[in-house]
């Protein structure tokens, strides 16, 4: 856990950071967000004392960092700087092992760790361990930079725009990789960004800065749903509701335990089921419950026969683990107002409608 208490930093007469109070719970990803020059980097560097605060206190796991030895403090905090900062004179392996070497780990242990870490970010150790930074692409360098911060397994990570130098496509890939890692490692992370999309994607908590002041410190959904003032709402963008779609999983907006029919059921049964639920269509499932097709009310009501003979292909399917953004995107792609939701194995789990999505988005507003 990281706690900042009334932390300020003055450069001469200029106030770079102004009385910040903030707490980052253990295992959380806190994204510091704001326009250029608002004090994000300065705040972050005060945590590992690269910059000494002018006033205020910073606690790491309840311990005041003012007193402790700076060098050992920094060795216990992973640090990724904005410019990547790999040492060009060292191989990738030696770069990763910098902190373990400083801590005096046995060589065999640290080199093995380097190899494992490279593997974790999808870089083949047999290819990359002995390379020099200049022999890597920008994205590969950035991965090594992140992995280097993880080498000595520090509980806390500070990352200053770690994915800033990569093109948007690769950035998404690395972000996903990193989130997967984080789900496993559960580090306490302070992450500087000026990209609201990145923040929404990565953060458990977002801290929005302006001119050295902490304007709002909240969950991504709350920041998007309830910006405290005009500055925040402008900063997060006029499409903030669309951004929220990303934060909500299909399961949260899904109607579960839906009505269903099988191929051998009669159309009569299907129509009765639809009337019961007030639906205009019903999903047909296979023998074990996989979503197979759909029967529409207007087709079924005038005909006789079995469901299997009059079913149509499903207009759209969405995985229950996806977020609402991909669900809505599917709806617009296929021009439908509802989607069948399936799990990884294709089993029919429920359905999602435009109405249910609107409802979920609205819940948080009614909560207030």
């Amino acid at each position: 856990m990281i706690r900042l208490e009334q932390v300020s930093k003055h450069f001469g007469t200029m106030v770079a950071v102004d009385r910040i109070d903030m707490e980052v719970p253990t295992g959380a990803v806190c994204v510091l967000l704001g326009p250029s020059g608002c004090g994000k980097t300065t705040t972050m560097k005060m945590i590992n004392r690269l910059i000494p605060p002018t006033s205020g206190k910073i606690f790491l796991d309840g311990k005041d960092t003012t007193g402790v030895d700076e060098v050992s403090l920094r060795r216990s905090i992973g640090y990724v700087i904005q410019q990547i900062g790999l040492f060009p004179n060292m191989t990738v392996e030696d770069n990763i092992c910098v902190v373990p070497d400083l801590l005096g780990w046995p060589r065999a242990k640290s080199r093995k760790r380097a190899s494992q870490l490279l593997d974790m970010v999808n870089l083949d150790p047999s290819v990359f361990l002995k390379r020099y930074p200049k022999q890597l692409s920008g994205g590969q360098q950035q991965r090594v930079g992140v992995v280097r911060a993880l080498a000595a397994d520090p509980p806390v990570l500070l990352m200053d725009e770690p994915f800033g130098a990569i093109d948007p496509i690769n950035r998404e890939v690395i972000q996903d990789e990193f989130m997967k890692l984080q789900a496993e490692l559960k580090k306490t992370i302070v992450f500087v960004s000026h990209d609201i999309d990145e923040a929404v994607k990565m953060a458990t908590r977002i801290a929005i800065f302006r001119d050295g002041k902490l304007i709002q410190y909240d969950t991504p959904d709350n920041i998007l749903a309830h910006p405290v003032d005009a500055f925040v709402s402008e900063f997060v963008g006029s499409d903030r509701t669309l951004k929220r779609l990303r934060l909500i999983k299909v399961t949260d907006a899904m109607m579960s335990d839906p009505p269903r029919v099988k191929a051998e059921d009669t159309l009569e049964t299907a129509v009765r089921l639809m009337d019961e639920h007030g639906h205009v269509s019903v999903v047909m499932v296979g023998p074990r419950g996989r979503a197979r097709g759909v029967v529409r009310h207007e087709v079924a009501r005038d005909l006789k026969g079995l469901v299997g003979e009059h079913q149509e292909p499903l207009p759209g399917i969405v995985n229950i683990k996806d977020d609402l953004r991909s669900a809505v995107s599917q709806m617009f792609t296929h021009g439908v107002t509802w989607l069948a939701c399936v799990d990884d194995d294709g089993f029919y789990k429920g359905y999602i409608t435009q109405k249910s999505i609107t409802q979920v988005l609205g819940t948080t507003y009614r909560d207030r």
């Binding site: 050992s72 920094r74 410019q83 900062g85 040492f87 060009p88 060292m90 910098v98």
Partner: protein
């Protein structure tokens, strides 16, 4: 490919040229005349090398630490002043420098070594400072952020990344040094200058050449040596030659 082909052709031409010169010298009796001075040459080469080595070594041992100190935050403000002073030292003509140091230290090897040292110091200090300053600030910040002490940052990050430029300075410095040693003769310091200047005085080209050719070869050899050191010592990741 074309470039390497050209290089090979050039090399062949050079070797042929050298052989032709040798044959011509042999034919007109110059080569045997030069070889007459063989024992003198060997003795003087040793003296020549000793002067260059001692003055060069002192300059390196003083120059690199001086450059390092002048880039530490605490002393950074003196860096410009010191380089100005050292710069001034090299604007003094070499002969004047020799004369000056002779007036302090008398004649013989010590004033020569001192003058050569002053001459050699500047490029070493300047390049050490330039090399260390050229290490990108983010590298140093990353090192600090990962918990390196200032000494560790210097040894593991700053010096390895500056060593190419520092060695380039040493290379220039030693080339100047070796080329200047012949002047040592003028204040009684010995070296191959003895043959050169005596050869000039006596109007004896064979003697002059017996001093001049080894001097040139020594300069080329030392340059080659430092070049090799530069090639092998500089870490591969920051070595533009590899």
């Amino acid at each position: 490919m074309a470039a390497t082909g050209l290089q090979t052709a050039f090399r062949l031409l050079l070797i042929t040229g050298v052989f032709a010169c040798g044959a011509w010298f042999q034919a007109n009796g110059l080569l045997p005349a030069i070889l007459k001075h063989r024992s003198d040459v060997i003795y003087l080469i040793r003296q020549h090398l000793a002067l260059a080595a001692v003055s060069g070594a002192i300059a390196i041992v003083v120059g690199i630490p001086l450059g390092v100190i002048l880039t530490r935050p605490r002393f950074e403000m003196f860096a410009d002043a010191v380089t100005q002073v050292v710069n001034l030292g090299t604007t003094i003509p070499t002969l004047a420098l020799l004369a000056l140091s002779m007036s302090f230290l008398g004649i013989g090897a010590p004033p020569v070594i001192f003058a050569l040292f002053v001459l050699t110091l500047l490029p070493i200090v300047l390049n050490t400072i330039a090399g260390l300053r050229s290490v990108p600030q983010p590298l140093i910040e990353a090192a600090r952020g990962m918990g390196m002490t200032p000494a560790q940052i210097l040894r593991r990050v700053e010096l390895p990344n500056a060593v190419f430029v520092i060695l380039a300075g040493i290379r220039t410095a030693l080339a100047i040094n070796i080329g200047t040693v012949p002047l040592a003769f003028l204040i009684g310091g010995g070296g191959l200058g003895e043959l050169i200047f005596t050869g000039i005085d006596l109007m004896e080209p064979s003697m002059l050449l017996a001093g001049a050719i080894p001097t040139a070869l020594l300069a080329v050899f030392v340059d080659f040596l430092v070049g090799q050191i530069q090639f092998w010592l500089v870490p591969r990741g920051v070595n533009p030659l590899r």
